[in-house]
């Protein structure tokens, strides 16, 4: 069975929708994107996710998104497309791809940013740059994405190379899940006894960004009208 960390996963729009909207999302925020879609009852929105593990190799993100956008365009299946990524460490490479395709993305530099709220995250980061952030997804997959992904399970001696400069771990929580809070707390311990903070962000800027995208109908876009 495909899983969001490793695989590409698609969540189809309702079968009766002739030309759905497409959200091309990072697998690491798929749950949250789907939560917004379900909450709003958007049966006309399809979600295609790239593997969440790309979080560890941001240099690959722009190329992978480019490929998926080209595929979506060639299929002629979608009325419009939105990319549910922030810059995500691509250093503007993702924006160059999106500009070429005429597609918009989520605000900010990282998922931490749009979950916490871009301005609030920037202020938090400025106050303590030595902060490692976790989201619900990163908490859930901490062992595989961080410990195994960075080979700290085989080579714990690399811990100071990766995390020696960090002082604080902030868990930006999308949900109220005591088990995830506990996991985050243990992660802070595991990374060398980092100071732990838990901040409930909810879906942050993700929800309004998706609402703006889904609210605009094709006709509105043609007439240059504002969303209702």
């Amino acid at each position: 069975m495909p899983e969001l960390l490793e695989d590409e996963v698609t969540y189809r729009a309702a079968p009766e929708v002739r030309r759905p909207l497409l959200v091309l999302a990072c697998g690491a925020i798929a749950r949250e994107v789907l939560a917004v879609i379900r909450l709003n009852g958007w049966t006309h929105v399809e979600v295609r996710c790239l593997p969440g593990k790309l979080h560890n190799t941001p240099a690959e993100i722009a190329r992978r998104v480019d490929g998926k956008l080209a595929e979506a365009e060639a299929s002629g299946r979608y009325e419009r497309v939105f990319v549910a990524y922030a810059d995500c460490g691509t250093g503007g490479a993702l924006d160059r791809v999106l500009e070429r395709h005429g597609v918009e993305r989520l605000p900010g530099d990282h998922c931490y940013g749009f979950f916490a709220g871009v301005d609030r995250w920037l202020a938090m980061h400025e106050a303590e740059p030595a902060t490692f952030y976790l989201t619900d997804f990163l908490c859930r997959h901490f062992e595989r994405l961080v410990i195994h992904g960075l080979r700290l399970d085989d080579h714990p001696e690399l811990l100071p190379d990766y995390f020696g400069n960090y002082r604080r771990l902030v868990y930006l929580a999308q949900t109220d899940d005591p088990e995830l809070v506990e996991r985050a707390r243990r992660a802070a311990e595991r990374l060398g006894g980092l100071q732990f903070e838990h901040l409930r962000t909810g879906l942050g800027d993700l929800e309004p960004a998706l609402e703006r995208f889904a609210a605009r109908s094709g006709d509105d876009a043609l007439e240059g009208g504002d969303p209702p």
């Binding site: 460490g89 030595a130 080979r151 080579h155 690399l158 960090y166």
Partner: protein, 241 residues
């Protein structure tokens, strides 16, 4: 699926004894060991070559720096990832610990001096540390300012060490624009042309390097070392004219 080739008798789990290898094979083996991040083997190989009369400089260049250059190529090509590069770097560091006192003793001529540091707001230093190590391997004296450096910190180090090169690194898209702040300050102070400015970091590219007014953007540590050598030599040649 192709049948696996049968192994020759007696070749399974064959132990390689470094001391029994000829120089050329030993150096190749050290490249492999560096690639695999085997620090103990690198230290052993380094000592063997020194015992055989190799100069510290030759061991550094032919065994360690060349091995790390191969690692750099495979990192660039997506064959190796950060953990493997870190393990290789730690193995190289272990070899350099053996060589450093010998290099100092022989008073090998330094190519030049580099002041290097991660910019303000950024605490990521894996790439910067790799570059510093490769620059040292390439014969530079490296003044490492560490992480989270404000412009004042760079200026003080430039004043104190009069480097040939200033190197700046950033991992975050939010911090990389600070490189322009530093370079603009160098221009304001009238010292921009006194040194070569090199920039690097995962989200940067050639275009960004040009936009902030750097002399070079380097995509990895091996390229940084080669670029640093080339730019310093070119600058000296130009000044000698």
């Amino acid at each position: 699926m192709a049948e696996p080739e049968p192994k020759a008798e007696g070749t399974e789990d064959q132990e390689i004894v470094l001391a029994e290898l000829a120089d050329e094979d030993l150096v190749k083996q050290m490249h492999d060991d560096l690639y695999d991040g085997l620090a103990d083997e690198i230290v052993e190989g380094t000592r063997i070559l020194l015992d055989r009369g190799w100069t510290a400089e030759r061991v550094l260049n032919e065994a360690l720096v060349e091995g790390m250059r191969i690692v750099g190529i495979d990192f660039r090509d997506g064959i190796l990832f950060v953990p493997e590069v870190l393990l290789a770097a730690n193995a190289m560091k272990a070899g350099m610990e053996v060589l450093r006192p010998l290099l100092a003793e022989t008073g090998a001529q330094r190519i030049g001096t580099v002041v290097i540091g991660t910019v303000k707001g950024d605490i990521h230093d894996i790439g910067k540390n790799l570059v510093a190590m490769m620059l040292e391997g390439a014969g530079f004296e490296v003044i490492d300012l560490g992480i989270n450096n404000a412009v004042e910190s760079y200026l003080a180090a430039i004043e104190e060490h009069r480097p040939d090169i200033l190197g700046m690194s950033a991992l975050l898209t939010t911090t990389m624009p600070y490189m322009k702040v530093v370079i603009d300050t160098l221009v304001e102070k009238g010292i921009r042309d006194d040194l070569i400015v090199m920039v690097g970091g995962a989200p940067l590219n050639e275009e960004f390097g040009k936009a902030v007014g750097a002399d070079a953007y380097c995509r990895d540590a091996a390229v940084a070392a080669e670029t640093a050598q080339a730019l310093v030599l070119a600058r000296r040649a130009a000044l000698a004219r």
